[in-house]
Subunit: 224 residues, 2 copies
DNA sequence: GCGCGTTTGATTGTCAGATAATCTAACGGC
DNA sequence: GCCGTTAGATTATCTGACAATCAAACGCGC
């Protein structure tokens, strides 16, 4: 007895909606038919269409506004990683791997950062401002926040969006041991950030990379 | 006039379900309460719970089996990227950024690869096998497949799981211009792969990185 | 006692219909 | 012409019902 029509109604619906977007060559922001219209077109109930659109909306593939309708969404990798980040199967990633991964992408972007710094002085300013604010605060929460911001800005300055998104993801996992940083170590941390900015501004990629690597790997010592 | 209750019921539900998973320390495969139970617990209708679970299921965060119930899912990045890959807004990611990102993570892992190669000879064998199969096929589809496999194996050999996952993601977007590689260029590509393997086996990280960079960046020339 | 089909209860899947909340656009007073 | 109001459209949520599916308990024959 074949029970092979396993494709559930709402899964058909998601496929058909995706199909619709592709075949009509819709761009982000373009309108989709209403839920009722889609239901009629597909010959299914409105509820199933809803389950499909809600799922797609979750990923950012479509957007819905109450009283307005559906439209093609602007995908935000950040949102996806946010939902994925908490998941148990990802929580078990070895902290050492996280650290090594961060070292690779953050030191890897430095050449790009230096290149762009040469043509855009605002990058230097932005980084320096974070370091300054760093120095003038003692609030733990704020320091963590600034630390994240510093490293994110670094990635952003490379102009490589995919790596920014990925960096965000890594930071989600990192969060938990960042809080274990002792007060005394923050002073060292500030100096380290300052040194990195200066080396970058001077175009010394190698030196900046060494300093950055040491800075991130300092977390490894807290893992025992 | 504050209309700040923006959090929709089903969004609360998704958060609460995620919360449930975390606070109960559930692992993939573990059972969740039934939809009805969840609805009662959260004080909302079963329908809203459904929309939440369907969205989460779409990402692979939870799984549902008819007649059985809900359970925590095994996240499959491949599935996510499959849904994401077609999306118009991702078709617009700057190809140059993709290439640069790949160069950074793939050359970045090479030191780790060499380290692990020294203690595990199976890595060399696996890479070499792919190159051999590469040489003996002419099927375009197969070649693309092997190319992906080669680069994935490289990342895997570093032992840095986060980067493997991220590499998978990048490959999805890369797909589309991989098909434009001309037959003639595949020969060059094979040689390049072979050279990388040899340099790695010899512990020459720098040389391997240069070759790998050139290999990936060769795609840039096809972008005009 | 054991093997095997059957039943049954639990659970998800799908539907229909109704009401609330919200937004857009048309309307109308001034 | 400007601005508040209204009306229609659309999504958001709920209720209640029934179908489909599955796993475990059941019972029958041996």
């Amino acid at each position: 007895m074949q029970t092979l029509q396993r494709l559930k109604v709402r899964d058909q619906a998601t496929e058909q909606i995706k199909q619709y977007i592709v075949s009509h060559k819709l761009a982000p922001g373009d309108r989709l038919p209403t839920e009722t219209k889609l239901a009629e077109t597909f010959g299914i109930s409105r509820l199933s269409v809803r389950e499909a659109t809600k799922a797609l909306e979750f990923l950012g593939i479509v957007q819905s506004k109450t009283g307005v309708g559906l439209s093609v969404g602007e995908i935000d990798l950040g949102r996806v990683t946010e939902h994925l980040g908490f998941h148990p199967s990802l929580q078990r990633v070895d902290p050492n791997q996280l650290i090594d991964s961060r070292v690779i992408i953050e030191t890897g972007v430095l050449p790009h950062v230096v290149d762009r710094m040469a043509h855009d002085e605002s990058i230097h300013l932005r980084l320096q401002e974070i370091v300054d604010r760093f120095r003038s605060t003692r609030d733990l929460k704020m320091r963590i926040d600034l630390d994240i911001q510093f490293h994110r800005t670094l990635l952003e300055s490379s102009g490589l969006e995919p790596l920014v998104a990925f960096g965000d993801l890594l930071h989600v996992f990192f969060q938990r041991f960042r809080e274990s940083v002792k007060q005394a170590e923050w002073r060292v941390s500030v100096d380290s950030h300052q040194k990195i900015v200066q080396l970058l501004a001077a175009g010394k990629v190698g030196g900046a990379a060494d300093e950055l690597r040491a800075h991130i790997e300092s977390h490894k010592e807290r893992l025992r």
